[in-house]
Point group: C2
Chain length 294, copies 2
């Protein structure tokens, strides 16, 4: 039984969730609105200090982050439209203020790590963690670790084949009709003129949504050959949506696959994550454990 | 100086190229048409035997292949439309007939390995090797090795955003207007009514081609975050095409990137492979060397 204490920070664009855990069990937690970096990081650190000594800290942070191990700005947010947050050295701030080992990942990478250690991706070598909510986030896990290359994946920004008859222009400020611009929560609301929570009984909404998501899953499958895709987030709470995505994915692949699992049902291939809205925070605990050990 | 002798087989859909190398230098080679498996593999093995003893063999083979290390059919072609070749145990045949260590990869994976060891991807940890010719082939290299997950990547079959005004339906038998169905050599010929070699002076042909290729490179960049993309194959021999792809890729990314290199010119990001039409055979030599050492 792991009796060490860990600080876990899920640093989001609108709020920070901060927790102290004993082993992987959360013993105290709070939520802090994301305002100016000094203010928000300061409040997070004060909360952790108020609890007492912790052994290590983990941060699952909104991106883009500098995650190149040799970079002088490793662990910083890079360029972001979020006012005040460009070039903020999040990892260094936490590490130096608390004086303990700390590790950082992009939010979805952290969530992937937590799902791999304790959740819906245990025992796998390669998988993708996806959350469809106010944005489209995805973490790529390859060969037992979160993958970064030159920068980190930003899968929400791939191009999509438009469904005939859908004339919604997309709402991504960079790409217009990319995946995030067509299929994340705000795009659904914008296209149909109502928040997605109020569109539950309109099958055409979810049919279109599932078509775009299945198309994205087909692309991820052909590019990265994962063993499983975890598909969660607020949008995926819609009843029956995951099943619709599964059946459309099978149609999209159309039997062209290098693995038999993708020929029939894909119930074991496209699954819900185990930790839902807590995946980032649980992932931050996993990051803290890794920091303590390294 | 490596003085061992290696057999290298590039097993293609229309022809096999077979070579014997001393170190990485080819000392004898031949080309065999791809007919029935027994006949073609038999001729390849006879050629190698005729040369004398070799220490190991490498095979860069058309796919799909079973590359799961624990699978009883590891190293076999799986389901292919190519008559007679489904479930042919290519690796086992070569290994048992020659009685030497042997290794196999999908053709593009083998080519990637050769480019990494001796060519245009030396020193990198993550890159993508692409060949655009009679098909669209791509090998994903992650963390110092060819990536397979559940099956292997088949990047040519991702969905594409159609360019307005392009009403070509695509010629992929599985997906119609996927990347391969819209942008590989046969699609170019089919769309414009002439082989691509005769379309050199029609800028609209290459403008459209570059648009689709750039879109694909954008998708690969956002999904896999490679450090470089090697872009070769017969179609890429068109004068100026690689520059056009580069400039359109920068437009497609539109400044949304987690790495500064992708903000400006991408001349060091999208590059021609070093070995051109020999990449598969050179890769097979690299595979043989690895087989000899393991």
């Amino acid at each position: 039984m792991n009796e060490q204490h860990y600080a876990a920070i899920e640093a989001g664009g609108t709020k920070f969730r901060v927790a102290v855990a004993r082993g992987r069990d959360i013993v105290a937690d709070t939520t802090i609105p994301t305002t100016a970096p000094d203010e928000t990081l300061g409040a997070a650190i004060d909360f952790i200090r108020s609890w007492g000594d912790v052994d290590a800290a983990g941060i699952a942070c909104f991106g883009p982050l500098d995650l190149e191990p040799t970079s002088p700005s490793y662990g910083s947010v890079t360029q972001t439209p979020k006012p005040g947050w460009s070039n903020v050295p999040v990892l260094d701030a936490v590490r130096s203020e608390l004086g303990i080992p700390a590790a950082i990942e992009v939010d979805v990478g952290g969530a992937a790590l937590g799902e791999w250690r304790w959740g819906a991706a245990q025992g796998l070598r390669h998988f993708i963690y996806i959350t469809v909510g106010t944005g489209f986030g995805a973490g790529l896990f390859i060969d037992g670790k979160v993958h970064h290359g030159m920068g980190h994946p930003e899968m929400g920004h791939i191009a999509l084949e438009r469904v005939p008859g859908d004339d919604y222009p997309g709402n991504c400020p960079f790409h217009g009709a990319c995946l995030e611009g067509m299929a994340a929560g705000p795009a659904i609301g914008d296209r149909w003129g109502a928040p997605s929570a109020e569109l539950g009984n309109r099958p055409e909404v979810w049919n279109l949504e599932a078509t775009y998501l299945a198309q994205a899953l087909r692309t991820f499958t052909y590019v990265a050959a994962p063993e499983r895709i975890l598909l969660g987030g607020g949008v995926m709470q819609q009843d029956g949506l995951i099943d619709l995505v599964r059946s459309k994915l099978v149609n999209q692949l159309n039997g062209y696959t290098t693995h038999d699992l993708l020929r029939g049902s894909v119930e074991d291939y496209v699954v819900a994550p185990a930790f839902g809205q807590d995946a980032g925070l649980i992932g931050a605990i996993a990051l803290a454990m890794d920091a303590a050990e390294s």
